[in-house]
């Protein structure tokens, strides 16, 4: 049995302008120890997807479909039961290390909170465990800094503290939502290496969300490309990077400025902008911006077309797209 099985998940959010289809029928499975990346632009539904796994959606959100975590159905689970899982079996690292920590509590108290709550540890025991965690995530001189407050740490150190907190109860699944977007590149490298090391050492499964294709390439074994609330391409990272079969994936790759490219060259752009989740087209979400669009693209959502290596692409014009070759 896989650790996590998401099937036909739909999330509808209530906004001032009406209901928004933030996630439209996505599905994936994750085994213990496996690493999955989700890549996409703002509003594609990647953060909403993981928030639904954590039970962190706003109370007005409507969730349909199924999320089975280690045999337990999470959709429709009571808040009380969800509290047993959140922070205990599933840990999460957030994007902003500045705001993810409570400024008025010491880090010993914050990192120890899940231990006291889920493990019922006494304060002194939790403190010992917190020290071990902080040392593991690489906080220098951790013993003397247990009673320090978040503002006394740098951004990178705060993210390390956030990681220690997510790891406190030894979760089976670690979710990292853009964990390094707010950090400098050299710090980003250290944090990603730390997460990578911890995942291997503890045999956790990892879901890593990023808009950066480089971060995805180097840190996960399989990936989903999301657009307009749907998965447009999925499969082993190496296969998706090698084939880049969906026109949106090709556009994402081509739009990145490259280091060392000659000056004066134009970047390839994807015309138009991301569709509004409030009135999404009924067919392929990318149809309005795609060069290959025909009338049928607007009619129905394309089914996944299987490719070699367990790679799948949702595009009905795949033959024509592949015939043109990978955009460079």
């Amino acid at each position: 049995m896989p650790l996590l099985e998401v099937d036909d998940l739909h999330v509808q959010l209530q906004t001032q302008r009406g209901p928004a289809e933030a996630v439209r029928g996505i599905g994936f499975t994750l085994e213990r120890g496996e690493t999955l990346g989700i890549v996409g632009e703002s509003g594609c539904g990647k953060s909403i997807t993981v928030q639904s796994l954590m039970g962190l959606l706003p109370s007005t959100a409507q969730v349909k479909g199924s999320i089975r975590f280690d045999g337990t159905e999470l959709v429709g689970l009571s808040e009380r039961a969800m509290c047993e899982i959140r922070g205990n079996r599933i840990g999460m690292i957030f994007q902003e290390p500045m705001t993810a920590l409570n400024p008025v509590h010491t880090i010993a108290r914050q990192v120890g909170e899940p231990l006291r709550l889920h493990r019922g540890m006494a304060r002194a025991d939790a403190r010992k465990e917190v020290l071990a965690l902080l040392e593991r995530v690489g906080i220098p001189d951790a013993a003397s800094r247990l009673d320090a407050y978040p503002h006394q740490f740098s951004g990178g150190q705060r993210q390390r503290i956030g990681i220690a907190m997510a790891l406190a109860c030894g979760p089976d699944l670690l979710i990292a939502d853009e964990p390094t977007t707010a950090l400098d590149v050299t710090i980003q490298k250290q944090i990603l290496e730390l997460i990578q090391g911890l995942v291997e050492e503890r045999g956790m499964a990892l879901i890593l969300i990023s808009h950066d294709l480089g971060v995805i390439a180097q840190n996960v074994s399989k990936m989903l490309v999301m657009y307009g609330g749907s998965v447009v391409e999925s499969g082993p990272t190496a296969a998706v990077f090698a084939e880049r079969a969906h026109p949106y994936t090709q556009g994402l790759f081509a739009a990145r400025p490259a280091l060392g490219a000659p000056r004066g060259q134009k970047l390839a752009t994807i015309r138009g902008s991301v569709p509004d989740l409030i009135d999404l087209p009924s067919g392929c979400p990318f149809a309005g911006r795609c060069r290959f669009t025909i009338d049928d693209c607007h009619a129905t959502r394309p089914p996944p077309t299987p490719m070699p290596h367990g790679h799948a692409v949702r595009c009905i014009r795949l033959g024509e797209v592949i015939a043109e070759g990978v955009l460079e």
Partner: protein, 267 residues
């Protein structure tokens, strides 16, 4: 040879609040003597990590802050020695584009007022003339003059950054200081804005002083790049050359940390 911008031995130290009642206040040495020159029509990139002093350079070049020592000369005039009215007039030649397209546009003003505001601050111009110039400026960044009466919330992040660029263009500046202009944008939108900035460079001969942590973005827009580390320029050169043959260990470390979009081979 006259230079557009000459930055000479710029130093900026900030005093922090005192930690002890009778002790000296601790200081942050944001810039420790930075010099560079920029010829008209050329663009300079400043790269470095948080705390390296990048944004302090932007603030000093914009005369939003005064240096502890050193000078900033724009078209030969020392900005920090000019009397206030002259400084105000000199601001015509240098405009700024900020990082956050959500925070840098006033949500209660129409696009027409936002874009025309630099004109209003500079000289007596009629409302009609301001509106006409604002329309031209919007057209230059690929928006329609029909957008003049809309409000910022009606636009996406990429369009808002275009509005911010239109506002910078309206005084027909020679230099635009852009502090992380695309880092808040999505990849596909980032490419559109970078292409626009490149077109404006070619069409109007605008120079950029581009502050960025993203080496690839600097590579795309600049003729020269300075790598800043702890308030000092540690290496400089043409981006294509510098990124291929970095000599300073800090530049090498920066380059090595950029994640490459090349996964391990398929098992």
């Amino acid at each position: 040879m006259s230079f557009l911008l000459e930055v000479d031995h710029l130093v900026r130290h900030y005093n922090l609040p005192r930690e002890r009642l009778f002790g000296p206040p601790p200081t942050v040495k944001a810039l420790n003597g930075v010099s560079f020159k920029l010829q008209p029509g050329r663009s300079m990139g400043i790269v470095g990590e948080s705390g390296s002093g990048k944004s302090t350079i932007a603030r000093l070049v914009m005369a939003l802050d005064t240096p502890t020592a050193g000078t900033v000369k724009l078209l030969g005039r020392d900005l920090h020695a000019l009397p206030r009215p002259a400084l105000r007039a000199a601001r015509r030649d240098v405009q700024m584009v900020f990082q956050d397209p959500y925070g840098s546009l006033d949500p209660r003003q129409t696009v027409a007022r936002i874009v025309a505001e630099p004109l209003e601050a500079l000289a007596e111009t009629s409302r009609a003339e301001q509106r006409e110039r604002a329309g031209e400026s919007l057209a230059a960044v690929g928006l329609r003059s029909g957008d003049l009466d809309k409000y910022p919330h009606e636009f996406s992040g990429g369009q808002r950054q275009r509005i911010a660029i239109a506002r910078a263009l309206i005084t027909r500046p020679k230099l635009i200081v852009a502090d992380e202009p695309v880092s808040a944008l999505d990849v596909s939108v980032q490419a559109q804005v970078l292409n626009l900035m490149q077109e404006l460079q070619q069409k109007f001969g605008i120079s950029y002083l581009l502050i960025s942590h993203d080496l690839a973005v600097v590579n795309h827009l600049c003729d020269e790049v300075c790598v800043l580390h702890r308030g000092l320029v540690v290496e400089r050169g043409a981006p294509q050359h510098l990124f291929a043959h970095a000599e300073h260990p800090y530049t090498q470390a920066l380059l090595a940390a950029v994640p490459r979009a090349e996964p391990a081979a398929l098992a």
